[in-house]
Symmetry: C2
Subunit: 182 residues, 2 copies
């Protein structure tokens, strides 16, 4: 979600929204110290953890979408590779160890400023359990996937493409976007 | 690059760096209004514009890496899909019209907080010219690529993978990372 920017993070003065030098779009900027306060979209990184014919999913213990099902995913941190972020989120949300195989889907949510990068991953063992952001973590066969209790459109898109294309020999990356955004 | 955060963007108070509730890592936060000031990595989106057996590249007219060659790419804006950002950057830097075919590479620069998403694209016509951030834009055959005058490691990685794998029938996405970062 776009943050409110009222004050300059550099000098603490009130910021202005409007034209800035050498740019074709208005930005929040500080007239006192000339800092431009960019609002960039964020990356959400996660994975489809596979065990035999099953997928590991997490039931959310936090808002938004408390009680709905998702794949392990969260915001990439500064200092991380995209794929390492997906591994970390899987540990945090499902206490599950995965090995990343490849990027599977890229899904943009322009209105909320997010891009999901979802990786295909192999679950390494069955020692998983709910992390503090999950009520429950569980393996689902494809026919058991809780389509009507899905937390996020990016997760639904990714699982739909997985169900349709998992046996394709060509490892395509699926590009999706939600417009208008949630 | 990680920005300096001295003041709260919400209320203008001095910020503190340290532990915050329900989080396992220290964050910049405001003790007056409880705002957490996250520092997230940014996405750079761009493309490999293909015309027959040639690739369109741009010679940079701005710092960093003034005078070196790059592929058209830049920061994704809030409100854009990833692929639309790549098209926009190609228009801005090379006044070139492209059609995106697929995602080609994802390259992380963890130390500077960037992830490149580079798409394969078809140049639609030869009506290109230098945008204001470019000194020159030019089509290169593979053997003409200026490897010793490359602006960014992500661009070099992407072009190397393109030269090695462009004729593969499997449309794999190449995952790369620079560690330590530039």
């Amino acid at each position: 979600m776009r943050e409110h920017i009222n004050y300059c993070s550099n000098c603490g003065s009130k910021v202005t929204f409007g034209p800035v030098p050498d740019d074709d779009r208005p930005r929040h900027h500080c007239e006192d110290c000339s800092t431009i306060l960019y609002q960039n979209p964020n990356m959400v990184v996660g994975c489809i953890p596979i065990w035999q014919d099953k997928i590991l999913m997490c039931k959310r213990a936090i808002e938004p979408r408390y009680g709905l099902w998702t794949l392990p995913a969260g915001f990439l941190e500064f200092g991380e590779n995209a794929e390492d972020g997906a591994v970390r989120e899987t540990i945090e949300e499902a206490h599950a160890e995965v090995e990343i195989k490849r990027l599977f889907s890229v899904y943009s949510l322009p209105k909320v400023g997010q891009v999901y990068l979802m990786f295909l991953a192999e679950l390494q063992n069955l020692n998983f359990s709910a992390g503090k952001e999950s009520l429950e973590v569980k393996l689902f066969r494809q026919k058991e996937i809780p389509w009507d209790e899905m937390a996020f459109s990016a997760v639904k898109f990714t699982l739909e493409k997985f169900c349709e294309h998992q046996f394709d020999s060509r490892p395509e990356v699926f590009l999706g976007a939600l417009q208008p955004a949630t």
